[in-house]
Structures are given as structure tokens and as C-alpha cells.
Symmetry: C2
Subunit: 440 residues, 2 copies
Amino acid sequence: MLLSRFFLPVLKETPKDAEIVSHIYMLRAGMIQQSSSGIYSWLPLGKIILDNITDICRNEMILAGANEILMPTLQSANIWKESGRYEDYGKEMLRIKDRNERDLLYGPTNEELVTEIFRTHVKSYKGLPLNLFHIQWKFRDELRPRFGVMRGREFLMKDAYSFDVDYESSIKSYNIMFISYMQLFKKMGLKAIPMKADTGPIGGDLSHEFIVIADTGESEVFLEEDFLSFEGSLNEINYERDLQNEVDKFTSFYAATEEKHNPNDKKIQSLNLIKTRGIEVGHIFHFGQKYSKPMNAIVNKNDGKNTPVYMGSYGVGLSRLVGAVIEANHDKDGIVWPQEIAPWHYNLINLKSGDKSCDDTCKNLYKLIQEKNYTVLYDDTDERAGAKLARADLLGLPFQIIIGPKGIKEKLFDLKNRKNGKIERLSYDELSNFINQNNR
Amino acid sequence: MLLSRFFLPVLKETPKDAEIVSHIYMLRAGMIQQSSSGIYSWLPLGKIILDNITDICRNEMILAGANEILMPTLQSANIWKESGRYEDYGKEMLRIKDRNERDLLYGPTNEELVTEIFRTHVKSYKGLPLNLFHIQWKFRDELRPRFGVMRGREFLMKDAYSFDVDYESSIKSYNIMFISYMQLFKKMGLKAIPMKADTGPIGGDLSHEFIVIADTGESEVFLEEDFLSFEGSLNEINYERDLQNEVDKFTSFYAATEEKHNPNDKKIQSLNLIKTRGIEVGHIFHFGQKYSKPMNAIVNKNDGKNTPVYMGSYGVGLSRLVGAVIEANHDKDGIVWPQEIAPWHYNLINLKSGDKSCDDTCKNLYKLIQEKNYTVLYDDTDERAGAKLARADLLGLPFQIIIGPKGIKEKLFDLKNRKNGKIERLSYDELSNFINQNNR
């Protein structure tokens, strides 16, 4: 991508209203723009990151056997009256009347709607297990929207819903989602910690939230030190297998948010606990027949009897994750994207656009990088060198290749690793070799 | 994809409330489900088609130099008051009050919001030309929602917005979008006809709508017969060139909807006109300074003076297109997907699942097709042969490969071309050769 053709409205000054680093950097790097309180437009750079995160999440859901659907943003109030949640939800739910005075609402979550879809079509154990997921904008009318996309009102969520014929199978489905969450956060370059959680307005008997570790995170968390380096056997996951064992390994560690942590608990006295901070990015719930009973989502079992179907729901806050990734990956100069979700692999910086040698060298490298199937943002603008370098650090692509008249003369070019800040001076051939290697 | 793992709730009977063929087939093929009047959930098959259409549209926008952003579904009423459209829009606009009694609305279109984004960041001709597009759900509270996704209330639209420093450049931007529309409909396997159009509530001095020809279309259209076979030079499009000539070729033909057609017009007496039917799937508008003036979207020209920016907007109804494609491509047995947007290339049908020879042959073909980078839906369910064949015709994938005990015995297998209905009996090697060829 040529930067001259990419709409990237970088701000030089720190925006006044932004309190936390992800919000500041997202505004400064031209990723988002607020349109009203807690409601944002995603500018091109923000959209790329949101898409990268969404794609990783979608692909893992598909690997785990889920079917993608897409439910609408607006729902009829009727199904929420059926489940009994219409009154419960309070002012966070955005209630709407259409031109015929019918009650609609902007979906804050989709248990009711997906149960309605299920009960229309599935009547027998033969259609089970089933997992339906969708990726759609939700709305929760937060009392105090803040921290940019971290606590917005209109937000993008992946929500999956599992359906099973009995309790045991539904725990298996829960376990598949548990492990797929560990996988997808890892594939985003994040360290996520599962923690036993309250079920809140979703309900149910079993629930975990997934917390991304970040020094600037919103909540204090306590966990066993070994948990941080424990990876389980995520590389060899086979979603067809029973995953109870895998889940047990993750849940055997102690981990709790401040609210749940009891320092006097005898069981934890002998553990090597650390205190850190984190951000909730996912939450999974097993709630059995909570919705299927009042909504009559009944299936025929293989013994001929009927049962309300057993369900769970599984959410990932995709737009919130963009902020969480930045909270977990930044320094004083800007964002440091994990390779897995970086908008481009390379930032090619022409320090003197218009200079024929610089332009030619950059054009060759631009072509070479793309031939090797890496992506590249080429800063071909006519701004001054200092501004370009500062912007490159702010944007935080994994590698910067810096081409200027001095390097051309000396036939040595700067390759900067954004994460550790290390700069190597390489000949064109060495640079070309570096690009040839799999350096992701 | 194994059909046994794909959520495809096919209906055997024609749904009562569906009046037009696309709505009937979308319900019968398990593509959509109504959740409230004019509001639909997209089930897995519908989601695939919607994605395929969306991807073609997105890719063409990017080829044409547009930048993808994503604006929210909910907008503040304030910017609509600035432009003067808040009162104009009437009951079609869904007006909402949030918990703090602030006026929001569900965006029916985005001229105001994109103008606000533009004016925040772009102050100089140096940032121009600029084209920002997004793909987002819109809401229009239709008085009579009907015809399924063809006239829904919540619908998916691609809308692009061009910004230019003067009238001449903005006509160039309009022409780029005009030609990109011809391209993207062609890439969807559709014949679209551009027609001069009224500008309605969007406003402006120049507008075209794009009509997909379909016998069952909603509007009668009159056009020169030669227009139907005219393709222009779309294969060699270079969006960097001036495209006025290309646009002139398309607009030189006579084409008009019933409302605009005047059979007594002398100019058309000598033309070979035909009468057919069509569906509007795109609409482009050049409206110059209509929004930039009241909203103060001012840029500095290279002569140092200021001017309100010149704009156009360009919409494609993506969810509506799913219906339009079916209206244009179906027969009495079901849908006949154009190859370009088919959900899978092949429908592999095992007439006797559980029979070892049938299963083995199918498994080999399933593997072979995927190795050749084609996609395949494998009907591995245990339903009876007749039901499977009827379902395959309803689903309308380009090719059916039908494997049954009779074929196994005779070593000859049926390959059915869904479009022309022709069935060839091929040996395994011949079938394998057919798959090896580029037969899309």
C-alpha cells in the first residue's frame, strides 16, 4: 500500500478526552473517530486491525465446527418477553419503537433470537450437537461510555451458541469453545488467562472469562506465576476429541480477579502468586435450559422422549480486543503490533521522496516484499524525515526499512525491529535475504 | 463441506407469505429466516452468498482506489440537523432516544457522517481526490416491507463517497465509480444496465441507477436491444485513466424505466427497442456541494482560496443483490447460481450413504476436488436418493456429481450441469479429468 493513497489522518497532539493509552494511540494513529458518545467510526487502519482480529476469531470458530450465521442488529421485543429478560435488562438495552409503534430493541446479545431460529428448524437429537455463531454489532447503552472502543456503546462481538441433547454433551461443547478461545487469543499474539466467572444477566451454572494480561489493564488479577508460561498442548488440538483433560489443565491453576480473590484462602497460601492487571476480552457461559424452557426449544431424544435443549453462549469482544491488543503491546513511541495481527509486515520509509536513487531503491524493495507475499506500507509522501520516522514508530509495524540519501551513498540501509528497537545496517543483498527468509 | 455438519434447514413446502421467486427459494433453501417484519437472519448458506457478493464489491472498490472505513449503524441526529435532512426524511428514518434522551437514528445512508469525518481531517487539495467506502447495515422503516430481502427494513449496503477539489475532478471520480459498478456486476455474473435516474432525497445534478435484467423484476424497462450484448472494454479497465469515453459508450444507448420512458419521443422512433424487466441494485449520485456547504467541509485549493468540497455518493444494495441474483438465475426446480458467486463449485451427492463403495468413491472425489482448489458440498446425509437430488437442484450449485450403487456397478457416474440440465455419464478417470480442467 502506498501511504500517499491511504487515508491515515495521524494526529500530532494527544487528544484531550482520551485517558488510556489504547484510546490515545488509536486516535493518534488515525484508527478511529468518535461520532457520538461511545460510538465510533473505524478509519482504514482501524478497519484493517478489526478485520484481522475478526478473521482469526472466525477461522477458529469454523475449525471448532461452528456454523456462521448473521442475525440482525434489531430484534423484536416479543422474544425477550418470552424469555423474561425484557424487563430485567434495564436501561442498558436500547428500546426502539418503529413507525407502527411496535417494540424493537438493538440487540445487546442474542440468546433469544438464536433460540428462536433453533426451535423453528431443529426438532430432533439428529440435528445435534449444533453450534451457531455470528459476528455482528451490538449496542449497550452504558451509563458512562469511556476508554474509546474498550467501553463503547456500539461494539462488535462474536457470539456463538451451542445446542445439545443433554447435560454431558453440552459440557463437551462448552469445553470445545473454552479451548478454541485459548487458541484464538494465542493466534492473535495475546496471552489470555481463563478465570472462573459470575454469570450475570446471561445466567447459568458454569462460566469463564478470558483476561488478556496488560500492565495498563482495567482490573487487578491474581494468578499462579507458572500459569503465565503454561501453553497446554494447543498446537495439537483436535476438536473431535474429548477436551475435558485440556480444560482441566488450564483450570487447575489459580487465577482470580480482585473481586473474587481472597488472600486469606488457605488453599492458596502455598502457591507462588503474582499480582498483575488484565482486560476481559471473552466470556463463556453454560446455562443449560434457561432459555430453551421458557421459549419451548424442545428436541426429541433418541429414546423417543422430549427435552428442552441444553445451551451455552460464548462471546468475544472484537472491537474491544483492538484496544486490548494495544494496551498489551505498546511503548512510549506508539503501538507495537504483534506480528499476527499487524496491518502490514513492513513499513518501507523513503526519507527523501523525489530523490531518484531513494525512489528507485524503494520501488525495488516494494516490489520485492510483495513478491515474497509479505505486505508493506510504503511511505512515499513528501513529508520531512523526522515526521516520517515518528509516524512509523507510532504505527508500530513489525519491521521498518529506512531508505535515505546517506544509506544510498554508503550502500547500507537501516532495518529496524520495532519491538526491541534494534537497528541493523544491511546491504541491499542482506536486506533482500532478510525479506526472503520467513521472518514473521 | 460435509452437509451433515452444515446447518441447512431446507423447507419442503412453499412458504405461505412469500410472493416472489427469490423470497420463496431463499426460504426453501434455508438461506434466511424472518425475525420481524422486514428484518432477517442470514442462515449459513445465505451468509456465504452475501459474503461472496460483498467480497466482489469490496475488491472492486479497492481496485478503483477507494479506502475502506466502517461507520457505525447509529448516528447522532445533530449532523442531520446540520445538513437539513433530519426533518426531510420522514417516517422512513428510525429515530431513537438513548438513556440520556439524546436523539440518535439508525443510519439510512451516510452522507452527513462521512462529511463530518472528512471535514475533521482534510483541509487541503493535497488530500484529494479521496474516496471512502464502507459496508454496513442500514435501516429504512419501509411502510410495506415485502419480497424478503428485496425490500427489507434492515439491509446491507456498500456506500462510497468521493471528495474532490472541483467540479471536473468530481466528474472523474463519478466516472470511476460508474465503470467500477459495470465491473462488479459483471464479476457477479449479472447483466446490469445503467440508466439516467432521479436523485430523490440524496440530491444532486447527475445520477444513474443500475438495473439487473430479470424476467421477474419489479420494474418494466425499455432499452436498445444492442445494449444487452454490449460489454464496453471492461476487461482492460485502468482506473488511472480518464474514463469519460468508457462512460459515454454506456450512456449512448437508450435505456429507461417505465416512469421515464416516453414512447412518443421522436429520438427513439428509429431505435430497435425491447421491453424487459429489471431490479435496481445500485444507484450513484453526483451532488457537488450539497452537503459540504451547510456542513462546512471546506478545502484549500492550490491557488490558496477555499472551496466547499465536491462530492458524490455511490450505493450498492448487497443484501438485495442476493435476491436479485436469484430472480435473474433460477428455474422451476430451484436456484441456478452464476459460477462467480456460487457457494461451492460442486455438489457431490452420495445416493446411498453407508454403502462402502459409494462412501469410498465419494471420499476420494471429495479429496480430489479440494486438492484442485475447488470447493465442494458433499451430501453425506442418510436421506433417500430422491430427496437428495431435489435438494441439490434447489441449492443450484454449478455441477452435481451423483454417486450411487448403479453407477458404481457400471463404473459410470453422473455429472450434471445444473444450468442446462445436461447429464454426462463419465468414468472415474473422465470425471477426474473434468475436475482437473478449469471448468468454472
